[in-house]
Structures are given as structure tokens and as C-alpha cells.
């Protein structure tokens, strides 16, 4: 697979943002593009991006390994990333996380048996006044969910579980 074949318009548009001497800047947006379909970045995609940008596969892998929003393994269809940092924890984020784990029957870092949700604890998402909150990262990008309750989160998970058909 080659990104330039699957997403010719997007690749061209991404490359047009940076000057010729700064072509390498496109590595991060291209990685997001590569991750869109499967939810993770495989070795072939890294090689492909390296070729597009005239850098080594190691250069690409170094970027993938550094940033938390790139994933190298297949996980749940959606990452549910709950902020448990200090300001959120002062508004009940840890208790929220514990109840959610109980409801889903999984621990932090695990995926629900049906493969819908991988639950993660993450650092500050800049929504400290609206805790408990989390983001979902999935095929349709990243979305914030704020002032959440466990009940509403379980409803959301149910929707995501059955959303397969609507999301391309």
C-alpha cells in the first residue's frame, strides 16, 4: 500500500504546507493519515513515508515511538483516553476511571473483549474545568467528551460498538 495511491489529494495538500527544505515536516501529518485506516502504523507504512520524504525508516520510527498518539499495535477500534492528571483527579477522575473499569470488566490499558474500546489513562488534555473527561481516538479522528458520567459513557460505548456501519 502506498499513501500516495490511497490518499493522493491529502498527501499533496500536506506536502504543500512546507517549503522544499522542510519537506520532512510532513512526517507527522502523514503518520496520522497512515493510521486512519487500521488504527496503528505498520512497518510498511513507515517505509512508505520514508520514501515520500527522502528520510530513513529509522527517522520515521523515531517519531512514531516518541509521540503518544501514534500506535504501533492493533488495539480496540477506539482508544478511550481518560485524563487522570491532578486537576481532573481533584474533580473525581480516578473514581470515574475505577467505576468505568468495573463496568467494562477490564483494567487500564486493556481492550474490551469485543474489540471496541481500549481504555487508557492519559495526561492533561486541557479541559480541567470539565472533568471527568476523556477523548476518543478512532477512525474518525479525535473527539472530546466532557463533564461525563459513567452512565453517559456506557451509552457512548454502546453507540460506538454499533457505529461500524456508519464510519467508513
Amino acid at each position: 500500500m502506498s499513501l500516495e495511491k490511497i490518499y493522493p489529494k491529502e498527501v499533496k495538500q500536506i506536502l504543500s504546507k512546507y517549503p522544499p527544505e522542510g519537506k520532512r515536516s510532513a512526517v507527522m501529518p502523514l503518520l496520522f493519515l497512515a493510521q486512519r485506516e487500521e488504527g496503528y502504523i505498520n512497518k510498511a507504512a513507515m517505509q512508505d513515508i520514508a520514501n515520500i520524504l527522502d528520510i530513513t525508516e529509522t527517522d520515521v520510527a523515531a517519531v512514531v515511538g516518541f509521540y503518544t498518539l501514534y500506535h504501533e499495535k492493533k488495539a480496540g477500534k477506539y482508544y478511550m483516553q481518560i485524563c487522570t492528571d491532578l486537576p481532573c483527579a481533584l474533580r473525581g477522575a480516578d473514581e470515574f476511571m475505577n467505576s468505568l473499569c468495573g463496568n467494562l470488566g477490564i483494567k487500564v490499558g486493556e481492550t474490551t473483549p469485543d474489540g471496541t474500546i481500549t481504555l487508557e489513562a492519559v495526561t492533561c488534555l486541557a479541559a480541567c474545568d470539565k472533568a471527568p473527561m476523556f477523548q476518543t481516538q478512532g477512525p474518525d479522528g479525535i473527539k472530546y467528551h466532557e463533564n461525563m458520567t459513567v452512565d453517559r459513557t456506557m451509552e457512548l460505548i454502546n453507540t460506538l460498538k454499533h457505529a461500524d456501519k456508519e464510519i467508513k
Binding site: I55, L90, Q135
Partner: protein, 415 residues
């Protein structure tokens, strides 16, 4: 007083192009490009006394005047990586008053002769980046961005760029590395970005809130701006208030507003009417202030906050009441910095790791007698030994927590 930055709270639909324009928007930019020399724009900002809102408080106009005019092209970069625990102001600005931010970015670009500007957003602001792209396109379509603006020789393009989850990219040289497609690790300074920045070219980097001040300063003049706030810290600041207050949120207030006014008059006081035990005025990077009446009556400006043993930083005010155990707070902040250390400097990479081992022991009740001293010792060994401020920030809550709230740590060891 009407809002200067969070003007969407006064004017509905301000994030729509026509509404922004109808309310005087983009006139300052057009006026600058057609009637002012670039250095005149910088001079107005310099005279206003505007200081950078990202945390360091460096005078903005002075930073712009450092741009190296012997080396071209120039770039301007907006730091929209907002990641300090307790900070959530730039997001509100970009969501609700995006054009004022973009106009400020455009004015800065004109002032330093940049024809390309980037907005570096944290990766989590995925939806916001797409929203800003729409706003940028609207400005282009209306002739406020693009080639030969208003019939002059000046051209400007603005692009968004998403990070992918790394607090360190809020540090300006790490941000540049990341924008260049590398791991976000800070550079050795000097040289500073105004002489060696993006792609090795002179670059000005400012925080979103800083840029958002600029159109209002250009429209109303430096004297108008200087009359607000304090002499040391002119203007208004958005205080992101979180923790155990009744009404957390963003509060735009003049510098010099006291902690008491913010917490009790604006945010309705502390939950359940409990007393404030400690305040962290600069997010997780902050010193812990022991709160008494004198502290509550301290004006929030760069100089005054220093007198009570902390920095104002980005003014992310975290309020801790008397139910909060400071040892637990320190465990949280150390966990954050351990996760976010980029790994470049040994004292930070290893120090945060070992500090986390100890704070976990304290938090789980497995600590032994020497552990608090050991924690303090590790923290102090890290200080002043790293390329960027993260290494020091990781220790601030640790040292001030242990020194100012020793009883909370003694309890942890006994248990």
C-alpha cells in the same frame, strides 16, 4: 469592563467571519499592512508592555525586535500546544474567538516580515485544527491572507500543524524540532529562535493568548493597554481556574486581581465552603503556596506572586482545599513529568523515574523512614542541570511540597 480577549462572551457568534469583521475585526491588520512600517507595529507592541502569556512572561515587542534581519526568510509560529495541567485558555480562544488570534498572528508576521506562519496545535486539538483551517480559508477568500494583500507587496499564508501528544513540544525549541518532523526534544540555546529557528531561519514563537492581545493593542493604542493591569504586568490575563472551586473555568481579569477576588468573587468560593489549603498558580510546574490571608490578598501579577514563593507562569490556578493530601498531589505531578520527560537530559530522564518510584511508595503506604529525604535529595540533584525548564518544573512541587507541608509526608511514612 468588557472583554478584551474572551470577547465572544460579549458578542455572540464572534467565531463567524462576518460577525468578527462587523465588530471592527481585521481593520488593525489592514491598517498596519497598508499604512504602517513593520517596525512601527513592533514599536506599538513594545510600548504596550505586553508580556508573553505562555509562562515565561518575556516582553513580546522586545522578542520581535530581536529578529535577525540579515537572514531570510522569517517565520512566525503560534504555540498552541497548550498542555500544562490546569491550562485550558488557548482552546477557548481558538474555538470562540479564532479570528482575533489569527489576526494577531498575521500582525506579528507583518511586523517581522514573515510570509509564512504556522499554528502548532497539540495533537488532541484535532477538531480544532480542522475548524481553524476553515477560518483561515475564510480569511483567504476575503483577501486577508494570500498574495499581495490589499494591493501591497506583502503576502502571507497561515498553516496549521498538529502535534501528536507530547507536553515537551510546548517548549519552543522542542516545538520547532517537532514542526521540522523530528522528535520533540529541546535544542541547546543560544542561538535563540529569533536568530536560528524553524529550518534554521529567524523565527518568532508566541503563545496563542499573546497573539490574541495584539489586534486590540494595535486598534486602541499602547497607552490604552498600559492603563490596564499593573505597571509590571500590563493588560489582562486569562486565569484558568481549576481544582476544588465551585465554578472552575477561564476568567479574564486585569493583572493585579487578587487570589481572593478570583476564587471568592468570581468563582463562587471553595466547594462545600472548605478552607483553601494550597494554591498552585502555574499548573503542575508550580510551587505549592501555603495559603493564609496574606496570600489570598496577593495580587496576581508576575512580581507579586514571586513574593509568596511561586511563579505566575501561564496562570493556571489549581486550588487545593483542606481535604487534599499534598503527598498525593506530588505523586500526581511527578507521574506527569515522568511521563512527559523527553529523555534527552539524563538528570530529568533518570530523576523523574526515581522520583516516581519513591512517590509511588509513599502513595501506596510502602515508604520507609528515609524515603522523604531521598525524594528531596533526588529532586535537588536535578535542578539547574537540564537543557529546558521541564527538568526543574518536575521538582518544583516536590521540593515545595516537602518543605512547606512536611506533616503530609510524615503521615505517609507512618502509614
Amino acid at each position: 469592563m468588557s472583554y478584551i480577549l474572551l470577547r465572544h462572551r460579549d458578542i455572540p457568534d464572534l467565531n463567524k467571519f462576518n460577525v468578527y469583521k462587523k465588530n471592527g475585526g481585521l481593520a488593525a491588520f489592514k491598517n498596519a499592512v497598508t499604512k504602517m512600517k513593520p517596525t512601527e507595529v513592533t514599536d506599538v507592541v513594545k510600548n504596550s508592555g505586553l508580556r508573553g502569556r505562555g509562562g515565561a512572561g518575556f516582553p513580546t515587542g522586545m522578542k520581535w525586535s530581536f529578529i535577525d534581519n540579515k537572514n531570510w526568510p522569517h517565520y512566525v509560529v503560534a504555540n498552541a500546544d497548550e498542555s500544562e495541567p490546569g491550562t485550558f485558555k488557548d482552546r477557548e480562544i481558538m474555538e470562540s474567538n479564532p479570528f482575533q488570534f489569527l489576526e494577531g498572528l498575521a500582525l506579528a508576521s507583518y511586523a517581522v516580515g514573515a510570509t509564512v506562519a504556522y499554528v502548532y496545535l497539540r495533537g488532541e486539538f484535532w477538531e480544532l485544527a480542522a475548524f481553524l483551517d476553515e477560518k483561515i480559508a475564510e480569511m483567504e477568500n476575503a483577501g486577508y491572507l494570500g498574495d499581495k494583500l490589499f494591493g501591497t507587496e506583502y503576502s502571507l499564508k497561515i498553516y496549521t500543524h498538529l502535534g501528536a501528544g507530547a507536553y515537551i513540544c510546548g517548549e519552543e525549541t522542542a516545538l520547532l524540532e517537532s514542526l521540522e518532523g523530528k522528535r520533540g526534544q529541546p535544542r541547546v540555546r543560544p542561538p535563540f529562535p529569533p536568530s536560528f529557528g524553524l529550518y534554521g531561519k529567524p523565527t518568532i514563537i508566541n503563545n496563542v493568548e499573546t497573539f490574541t492581545n495584539v489586534p486590540m493593542i494595535l486598534a486602541n493604542g499602547a497607552e490604552w493597554y498600559k492603563a490596564i493591569g499593573t505597571q509590571d504586568s500590563p493588560g489582562v490575563k486569562i486565569f484558568s481556574l481549576s481544582g476544588r472551586v465551585r465554578k472552575p473555568g477561564n476568567y479574564e481579569l486585569p493583572f493585579g486581581t487578587t487570589f481572593r477576588q478570583l476564587i471568592y468573587e468570581h468563582a463562587g468560593g471553595v466547594q462545600e465552603g472548605r478552607p483553601v489549603k494550597a494554591i498552585m498558580p502555574a499548573g503542575a510546574s508550580s510551587s505549592l503556596i501555603v495559603v493564609d490571608d496574606k496570600v489570598l490578598d496577593t495580587p496576581m501579577d508576575y512580581a507579586s506572586v514571586r513574593t509568596v514563593g511561586a511563579e505566575l507562569g501561564s496562570a493556571s490556578i489549581i486550588v487545593l482545599d483542606d481535604t487534599v493530601n499534598i503527598q498525593w498531589v506530588v505523586n500526581k505531578t511527578v507521574h506527569f513529568f515522568k511521563h512527559e520527560s523527553c529523555g534527552k537530559c539524563t538528570p530529568c530522564r533518570e530523576g523523574t523515574y526515581w522520583m516516581q518510584n519513591i512517590t509511588h511508595r509513599l502513595n501506596d503506604g510502602h515508604a520507609s523512614t528515609g524515603d522523604v529525604d531521598l525524594l528531596l535529595n533526588v529532586a535537588k540533584q536535578m535542578q539547574g542541570k537540564c537543557l529546558c525548564a521541564l527538568g526543574d518544573f518536575a521538582t518544583t512541587a516536590v521540593t515545595t511540597g516537602i518543605e512547606r507541608f512536611p506533616q503530609d509526608f510524615k503521615k505517609a511514612v507512618k502509614a
